[in-house]
Symmetry: C2
Subunit: 191 residues, 2 copies
């Protein structure tokens, strides 16, 4: 505090010495005037350098903040890309899976067809397991309360033996990849 | 900012003026000594500021280069991650595909089995198309020159009716995802 105060006083003194009023008053030796100009030049040089240093510092801080934001965004992007990486292939596979299920629903007419169907059911389960290992899950629909985020109502019926807004039939299976709905279940809903 | 800095300079001047050393030296007119010392101080102040500005500038350039490298690396990583995104699911699906092919090779004993097999063949082709649309390709093996990057030799035979180092039999299909071998073809090679 004492230090600060002293500085203030000195500044006052300096300003008075350097003030044009003092020069106009005459009587000040020329040499002194030159030195004063050089002093003023150096002072302005210092000011300029300090402004430049401050600007560099600010640019550095902005760039650091920018860099940090970018790294954070990249991390989130990479996590999402990794999490849903199989989405495109899964979407391509779902129609084949629908047809697979339809083909498996055929009634076996004889022993030969029966053993063939058993072999295909094994292949089907293996395929489902491969999808599950990537995070694919079937959306529960039948007899569930209708949820517009998971179910797509394509038919409405009135059945007093069921609660209103209940899924009464699943017309096409829906699938989620982790927390993301890949395809909603197509359903018939009770009004 | 400028105001503040000037105050510091003045403070330096004041300190020199107030130092007992200057007073003790004697002989030199007091005013001149003060100015010379003050000039030296300002010159060193300027040097210091210039060094600081240069350092800031260098840090800024290093950070910019670092940032650029990071962006470039991220871009390459993202491209590779996108290109091979389905690899994990594909690897899981391949064993199901092998079994699917084995099941389809069963000879249809009657009309019922025949129509069942036709339906399953359609599902199989749909599955293959889904995989192709993600960039999966079967590796050519049969009667090709043996290529250790694409083929895995599990058996060797000697058959003078074929060129040496030719694949004579494909025991398990191999697959590529774009330019990457997901699974080499397991083959029998002519010595």
């Amino acid at each position: 505090m004492a230090e600060e105060k002293r500085t203030e006083n000195v500044e006052e003194i300096f300003e008075e010495t350097a003030s044009p009023a003092a020069e106009e008053a005459g009587g000040i030796p020329e040499e002194s005037a030159v030195e004063e100009t050089s002093e003023a030049n150096e002072a302005s040089k210092i000011e300029e350098l300090e402004a430049k240093a401050e600007e560099s510092e600010n640019r550095l801080l902005r760039l650091q903040a920018d860099y940090e934001n970018y790294r954070r965004r990249v991390k989130l992007d990479q996590e999402a890309a990794h999490k849903y990486r199989a989405q495109s292939l899964i979407s391509e596979i779902l129609p084949a899976l629908d047809n697979f299920e339809r083909a498996l629903q055929i009634e076996a007419a004889d022993e030969s067809s029966k053993s063939l169907l058993q072999g295909m059911e094994m292949v089907y389960r293996q395929l489902i397991q491969a999808l599950q290992s990537e995070g694919v899950e079937k959306i529960e629909a039948l007899h569930q309360p209708f949820d517009p985020h998971l179910h797509q109502a394509v038919m409405q019926v009135e059945d007093s033996s069921y609660e209103p807004n209940t899924v009464l039939e699943e017309l096409q299976k829906g699938y989620k990849l982790k927390d993301r709905v890949i395809r909603p279940a197509m359903v018939k809903v009770n009004q």
